[in-house]
């Protein structure tokens, strides 16, 4: 199978081009640059890190990123160096390399730690594992007796995508009989709900054919930072003549590399998209054949019910109006010419089409009206629409960007897909709506632990993740008495951090399993020291990397740190259901891989990919929906009382939204990701601090700064009714006036997260996170 190798230019450079030093003892003289130079350097130069006796192990950089394959060097039982493994297709970044410092961090938690002072006070005593585990058993049983299993909550996050990590925790709670879920990804919830409903799946990697694209519309995302290892492929496309345009309120690192930076007001992306769609429809720039045969837009909609019309008793038997026979027939009837629009036919009293409904939403969005709503000049809107529709193949870079962490993010995700479908930009190299993907698009990986019978797991109403603080404080939907957190840090990621902090204080028993004293561990009742990569055996077979990877144990864990698998196994044994858990990691990995055709023996030799290269999702426009067509009408939105086709709804926490709020807090804040962390992971490693600093920054336009007497490098406070975020000002015209950019992921110990001020609304269509619709004011500290 052909594999793409990183096309690094240095590979073409022969090692022979280096000239070896002249050697010790040789002392010669020469005249270099007018000075006498002695060549008297020692012959043998020791490397700073002596690897002559090193053993090497491979693992995977396991948090919510691209899961690069890493090589760790171990000398005398200590991890001394980490670098990219050459078996990978792209290269690890500064964070992956810094894993050496994570494993060896002086602040690693080495023993279970029980709170002795007030919550958050930082007073602890070390206890043994038996005591810790027995205490957890007692607390779980107490909760079950007093509140039922509903009183138990569990949340794992994106700190480790290994197969023997998060799913083991959830399986444990399932064996207990269930728990109150904390629902919704803070990152990409509305992509996860919208994209599969429209095109059948998500997390299908579209990156392989980026260099084939002729027009790249980077829309509210910053791949130069968040997908950085393959960002060179974007630049390759540009070198081959592609035009790259970035839509962002900030001159992002990607915008800086683009041909054009389009400044937009946060939360208005759907208005721009509808305006582009209007032009594409009215100028007939759409791909009619693609729409007729690969999409649901000809499907008839009953005007009375507002539902799509289907053949009786057939879930996929949607009906269309055939222009040839002038009759209503099934959409998949051979030889028909379905009508996109039925305007002018004699069935309009009873029916409309999805196309007509979509056009109805797009029609009001004249370029002038788009300009008014988004601040993008009307001429730019027209040009973007024409360029995107006519320069093929064109790719929209969605990548779970900040545009969808807005109040109606589902519609923003939807409009990207609409634009791509209307222009036929799917299923060919260089086209599509780019998402991250991984091996799970090709193989089904089994859960590590055999799950209990589904009927034994109670289903309880969920706490929406963005409203975690409020729900806990108000005992909604129930009182939570016990919370287990792993691979996540609520205190840096969940919005409205003050409410989160109060919630963690309120819950009587909070267990945090982690490697370091995270911002969230500060508010735990019991901290369990868990292992990190290179300290345990795990499997990476996930949604962010095209290779299945064995994560090898390279060193013994520090102190008494234990793998999450061990922790849950010991607890499961205490509860009497330990049998399925009590297996070696290798046995469980074999279970994960059963039926995939991949064996652990293969993985010991190196990563294995089950995905062909280049991978083209939805090849030839065959989608993975029940109809095999792109379904642009969303019954699930209608069920929630919203328009089933994409429409624009102005956000509430927005400069043109709630004017009483705008008066108090006239600036919009957007959250940016920075290269020093993945969410909050890596944030306290010394090399990361050296490279990326130890202080949060707030980017503000010179005009907004001048109006507030703020100068570059001033200490500032960003605030609203939810709280305060302390930062240092970057005063630069690298952001649209009226907007400030805050940095995601700073730890409590570094001054705290920007999430202290972020919007904790729940996106109503998909349950998403709305942090990029946040109003604030900013002032000089002091």
């Amino acid at each position: 199978m052909e594999k793409k190798q990183n096309k690094d230019k240095q590979l073409s450079l022969s090692r022979r081009t280096f000239i070896k030093a002249s050697g010790a003892a040789v002392t010669t003289a020469a005249v270099v640059g007018g000075v006498d130079v002695l060549f008297d350097s020692p012959d043998v130069v020791d490397a700073a890190v002596d690897l002559s006796n090193a053993k090497t192990f491979t693992s995977s950089c396991a948090m919510e990123c691209l899961h690069h394959n890493l090589k760790g060097y171990v000398v005398d039982g200590k991890l001394v160096k980490v670098e990219s493994n050459c078996d990978d297709t792209t290269k690890a970044c500064l964070r992956g390399i810094s894993r050496t410092q994570w494993v060896n961090h002086p602040d690693r938690i080495k023993m279970p730690m029980l709170r002795t002072g007030e919550k958050g006070e930082g007073k602890w005593k070390e206890i043994g594992w038996d005591e810790a585990l027995d205490l957890i058993v007692t607390k779980i049983k107490e909760t079950q007796q007093q509140y039922g299993n509903q009183g138990l909550a569990f949340r794992s996050g994106s700190g480790n995508f290994g197969s023997l990590t998060n799913s083991v925790g959830q399986t444990f709670f399932n064996y207990l009989g269930g728990n109150t879920p904390i629902f919704g990804s803070l990152c990409c919830q509305v992509v996860s709900t919208t994209m599969p409903a429209m095109i059948g799946t998500r997390t299908e990697a579209m990156r392989d054919t980026i260099p084939d694209s002729k027009y790249i519309l980077v829309w509210g995302t910053n791949p130069a930072v968040t997908m950085q290892s393959y960002f060179p492929w974007y630049l390759d496309a540009m070198k081959k003549g592609a035009r790259m345009v970035t839509i962002d309120p900030r001159l992002s690192e990607t915008a800086a590399k683009s041909d054009e930076w389009v400044e937009i007001l946060p939360g208005t992306d759907t208005a721009l998209g509808l305006g582009m769609l209007k032009i594409i429809i009215e100028d007939k720039l759409y791909d009619k054949e693609f729409l007729l045969h690969k999409s649901s837009v000809p499907f008839l909609v009953d005007k009375t019910t507002g539902d799509q019309v289907k053949e009786e008793g057939n879930d996929t038997g949607y009906l269309v109006y055939d222009e040839l026979s002038k009759s209503i027939v099934r959409h998949d009837t051979p030889g028909i010419t379905p009508a996109l629009s039925i305007v002018g036919t004699d069935i309009t009293d009873k029916y409309t089409t999805v196309f007509d409904l979509i056009y109805e939403e797009a029609k009001p969005w004249t370029p002038e009206k788009v300009q008014e709503e988004t601040d993008i000049p009307a001429g730019t809107v027209i040009r973007l629409a024409r360029e995107y529709a006519t320069t093929k193949p064109a790719m929209i870079i969605q990548n779970m960007g900040g545009f969808q962490r807005t109040e109606f993010g589902s519609y923003a995700v939807g409009i990207h897909i609409y634009l791509a479908i209307f222009t036929g930009n799917f299923g060919v190299p260089g086209a599509g709506v780019c998402d991250a993907g991984g091996v799970t698009q090709a193989i089904k990986v089994n859960p590590a632990i055999k799950p209990p019978e589904a009927s034994t797991i109670a289903k309880y109403p969920a706490i929406p993740a963005p409203k975690f603080g409020e729900y806990i404080l108000e005992d909604k939907p129930t009182k939570i008495n016990f919370l287990w957190l792993m691979t996540t840090s609520l205190m840096t990621q969940f919005p409205n951090t003050n409410a989160v902090k109060q919630a963690l204080k309120k819950i009587p028993f909070v267990v945090v399993a982690d490697n370091l004293m995270t911002s969230t561990a500060l508010y735990a009742d019991l901290i369990l020291p868990s292992t990190t990569i290179f300290e345990d055996t795990n499997l990476m077979a996930s949604i962010r990397h095209q290779h299945v990877q064995l994560m090898e144990k390279a060193v013994d864990p520090v102190g008494q740190a234990k793998p999450d698998l061990w922790i849950f196994t010991e607890l499961a044994k205490r509860f009497g259901f330990g049998e399925e858990f009590d297996k070696t990691p290798e046995e469980l990995i074999e279970r994960c891989l059963e039926g995939t055709g991949i064996t652990i023996e293969q993985l010991k030799k190196g990563p294995v990919t089950p995905i062909p290269f280049p991978y083209i999702p939805y090849k030839d426009g065959i989608f993975k929906t029940p109809t095999k067509k792109a379904e642009l009408f969303m019954p699930m939105w209608k069920e929630k009382g919203f328009n089933p086709v994409v429409t624009y709804i102005r956000p509430k926490e927005f400069i043109k939204g709630d004017q009483a709020l705008v008066e108090k807090y006239p600036l919009m804040a957007v959250q940016r990701k920075i290269n020093r962390t993945i969410h909050s992971s890596f944030g306290t490693l010394p090399w990361i601090i050296e490279a990326g600093g130890d202080t949060p920054h707030a980017l503000i336009h010179p005009d907004d700064a001048a109006a507030r007497g703020i100068k570059h490098d001033d200490k500032v406070v960003v605030y609203n009714d939810r709280g305060e975020h302390h930062a240092v000002a970057i005063v630069k015209a690298h952001i649209k006036p009226g907007i400030i950019a805050l940095e995601n992921g700073w730890w409590e110990q570094q001054g705290g997260s920007s999430s202290y001020v972020t919007n904790d609304a729940v996106e109503p269509l998909g349950g998403g996170h709305c942090c990029n619709n946040t109003l604030v004011e900013i002032k000089k500290e002091g």
Partner: protein, 181 residues
């Protein structure tokens, strides 16, 4: 003509990830005060532009560090590497003051200065310098300066950078968009 190694730095393609900077630290074990390779920002406000340039020691043809070192700690190797015999460093910081690029760096804990060795030990083992190896974009290329010049056109100085004629740095920079006329 004596040989000279050098770096080609593709600033136009660099997106500032700083992997080179940390890879260097990981390889060389430098202390927190010292980063042999650093990524510098070149930004303008009107028009808004952002560029990043990765730079370490430029292994100059006319190295000011070497000329100003009172103990002779710096030598120019036959392959052109400006190499510091760390044992000979007394921490006087003459080189720090002399170098227009800020390449030699003082560690107050150790009381000595150190700088990029062009990963001499890796070169001698037939490997690439670690920054070159680690760059995800392939934007740092090491090799014989003459051969690099033949292959990659570029500049030796940009607006705001020290005049190349001072030390004749062994670098070729493909400037970022904003620096291209």
């Amino acid at each position: 003509m004596s040989k000279q190694v050098g770096f080609y730095i593709d600033m136009a393609n660099c997106y500032g990830c700083q992997t080179c900077q940390v890879a260097c630290k990981s390889e060389q074990g430098t202390t927190p005060a010292v980063s042999w390779r650093r990524v510098r920002h070149f930004d303008t406000d009107y028009p808004a532009t952002h560029g990043t340039l990765s730079m370490s020691c430029n292994h100059c043809d006319n190295p000011e560090c070497l000329k100003n070192c009172p103990t002779g700690a710096y030598v120019k190797l036959a392959n052109g590497i400006v190499y510091q015999n760390h044992d000979k460093c007394i921490g006087c910081r003459m080189c720090v003051m002399a170098c227009p690029y800020g390449a030699p760096q003082y560690d107050p804990e150790e009381g000595k200065v150190s700088k990029c060795s062009y990963c001499r030990e890796r070169i001698e083992a037939g490997l690439q310098p670690q920054c070159v190896e680690a760059c995800p974009g392939g934007n740092i290329i090491a090799g014989d300066l003459q051969e690099l010049r033949a292959k990659y056109p570029g500049a030796v100085e940009l607006t705001g950078m020290p005049k190349a004629k001072l030390t004749r740095p062994s670098i070729i920079i493909n400037p970022a968009k904003a620096f291209k006329k």
